[in-house]
């Protein structure tokens, strides 16, 4: 059984317009899963359902075997952290240190223990030299790393990244991805993104369309499903487009060879 089990989940904001439509999904412990989908495909809604910010009309979500409900939510929230898209809208503390500690203060952790833990996670995301700063002084990438530290500090099993890098500049994206590498495969990570490149190195790619899972596979196979990706209003990889040109080229005698070269190099780090 997966760390997250979703069974027949259905959710709608208004009547007759299902955002999540009888969705089934199982996510393995320690895996790094990327969820892709166009604007309005239900990705962010799914994330909010998993962390209990929204309540589904039908179906069940199990976290480590416990069913998500009004009775279990307080306990289950300790095991899940979420980082949102906008770096400017998730701060509560006056200093970076306070902000990271917020999640622990809420859980009545003793001061000395809190101090050590804050420093530990700040180091993990490379923000240990900014602890006394006001979050407002930080760059986007730094802010998102603080948000990440604020989640990691209470040691959740599952970390959800809801387009956590989409508003950052390339340097910021790089920094956040470096930070994620520090706990990849130690925690279960669910990354929601539009960026196909970010999905290349995931353990698994899940594509949502109209509230349903339309594709669920390892990246190498998933990105080969051109028709499904297009039907889900997603782009296909540039190398896939090149391979299509190879296929159409009548004069070329070593098609297979070039196709393989392009495909192999796409997944090379």
């Amino acid at each position: 059984m997966g760390i997250i089990e979703i069974k027949n989940l259905t959710f709608s904001y208004e009547k007759n317009k299902k955002i999540i439509d009888n969705l089934n999904l199982s996510i393995e412990k320690g895996s790094y899963v990327v969820i892709l989908g166009h604007n309005g495909s239900g990705k962010s809604t799914l994330a909010k359902l998993i962390v209990g910010l929204l309540e589904a009309q039908k179906g069940e979500i199990y976290i480590e075997g416990t069913k998500l409900s009004i009775d279990s939510i307080d306990d289950l929230r300790q095991r899940i952290g979420i980082v949102f898209q906008n770096p400017d809208s998730q701060f509560v503390g006056i200093t970076v240190k306070d902000d990271i500690a917020f999640g622990l203060e809420n859980r009545n952790v003793p001061y000395e223990q809190m101090k050590g833990k804050v420093l530990e996670v700040a180091k993990l995301v490379g923000m240990e030299n900014h602890l006394e700063k006001n979050p407002e002084e930080l760059s986007g990438g730094e802010k998102q790393r603080v948000a990440l530290a604020g989640v990691l500090v209470y040691d959740p099993e599952i970390v959800i990244l809801d387009e956590a890098t989409s508003m950052l500049d390339p340097k910021g994206v790089f920094e956040v991805n470096q930070a994620i590498q520090q706990f990849k495969h130690k925690k279960t990570i669910i990354a929601i993104t539009h960026n196909l490149e970010e999905a290349l190195y995931a353990d698994r790619v899940i594509v949502l369309n109209q509230g349903k899972v339309v594709l669920d596979d390892i990246p190498k196979r998933a990105f080969n499903e051109e028709e499904i990706l297009k039907a889900a209003n997603l782009d296909i990889l540039e190398s896939m487009k090149l391979i299509d040109l190879v296929k159409e080229d009548q004069d070329l005698s070593n098609k297979k060879e070039i196709e393989e070269i392009l495909w192999e190099l796409t997944f090379k780090m």
Binding site: L237, L252, L265
Partner: protein, 289 residues
């Protein structure tokens, strides 16, 4: 005639001791034509990109130096008519859909032109034209903009700027938060506007967009123009991309990997799929017979 920056310095705040002024921009000299340009402005967060574009339509005034916009010179304190500047240089902010406020989409689009002195009839005509250009479905025009999807709202907001018939259009981070399909649609719209003769300026972090759509790239660093050069020149100099930590476009990365892996003489400086393919074919392809 277009936009002409001369020795511009800009600070949001000047302390009593002027020597302690922290300038957001310094030594800016820049010429932009009012026709046919497609410019990408890139640089890290805090490098001065947004400040720079806000000087282009007089939302900011230069602290020192002058900015001439379509013949209207703006300095720190001089009296200039700002309306013609604001009308002719349309600025679309990041997440423009947050700025809608009227009861119907049509009224929202008409707000700009009405403000710039167009009659109600002209404003409506312009609004309908603008909606058509951006591909906004006519039936949506009578709807409350807040009931539309995010992508549609963004189209309403852009129509609102287009309806005032600006010559120059500036977009601050236009593709942030859009999925690939919506992003392509939007960028192709900007390309169409560019082909109609308008100058398009985009502030972006997305080097994919820059490599595909822009002709000229301005790189800002710490409030200075570090580079101002044709796109092809920027992407042909790997050391420049590395020095300013700019991302390589995906196609370039792939070509570079082919070059490294197979030790072949391949030109990595290709930006369209077709060009990249021809290059790969030339180097790796074998013909029948």
């Amino acid at each position: 005639m277009g936009i002409n920056f001369q020795d511009v310095k800009f600070a949001y705040y000047i302390p009593r001791n002027k020597k302690k002024t922290r300038y957001q921009l310094t030594d800016v000299n820049l010429k932009i034509s009012a026709e046919n340009e497609f410019i990408g402005i890139v640089g890290h967060t805090g490098s001065g990109k947004s400040t720079l574009v806000q000087l282009m339509n007089a939302l900011n005034r230069p602290t020192y130096g002058s900015v001439e916009v379509l013949g209207h010179k703006v300095t720190r304190k001089n009296k200039t008519l700002l309306k013609p500047i604001r009308q002719n240089v349309g600025l679309v902010f990041q997440f423009p859909e947050y700025q809608l406020f009227e009861q119907t989409s049509l009224e929202d689009i008409m707000f700009g032109p009405k403000n710039f002195g167009f009659t109600k009839e002209e404003a409506e005509k312009n609004a309908l034209e603008a909606a058509k250009i951006v591909g906004l479905n006519e039936e949506l025009l009578e709807k409350n903009p807040f009931t539309l999807s995010g992508g549609e709202m963004r189209k309403v907001a852009i129509s609102g700027i287009l309806a005032s018939k600006p010559k120059i259009l500036i977009f601050d981070e236009p593709t942030v938060g859009l999925d690939p399909k919506t992003k392509n649609e939007l960028m192709n719209l900007l390309l169409d506007l560019n082909k109609m003769g308008k100058t398009i300026i985009i502030v972006t972090h997305d080097m994919e967009v820059v490599s595909r759509y822009c002709d000229r790239v301005i790189v800002l660093e710490q409030g200075k123009i570090a580079l101002d050069l044709p796109k092809k020149e920027l992407f042909s100099k790997k050391e420049l991309l590395d020095r300013y930590s700019l991302d390589y476009p995906v196609l370039m990365k792939l070509l570079q990997r082919i070059k490294d892996q197979y030790n072949v003489d391949i030109d990595v400086n290709k930006f369209t799929l077709e060009d990249a393919y021809l290059e790969i074919r030339k180097v790796l392809g074998k013909n029948h017979g």
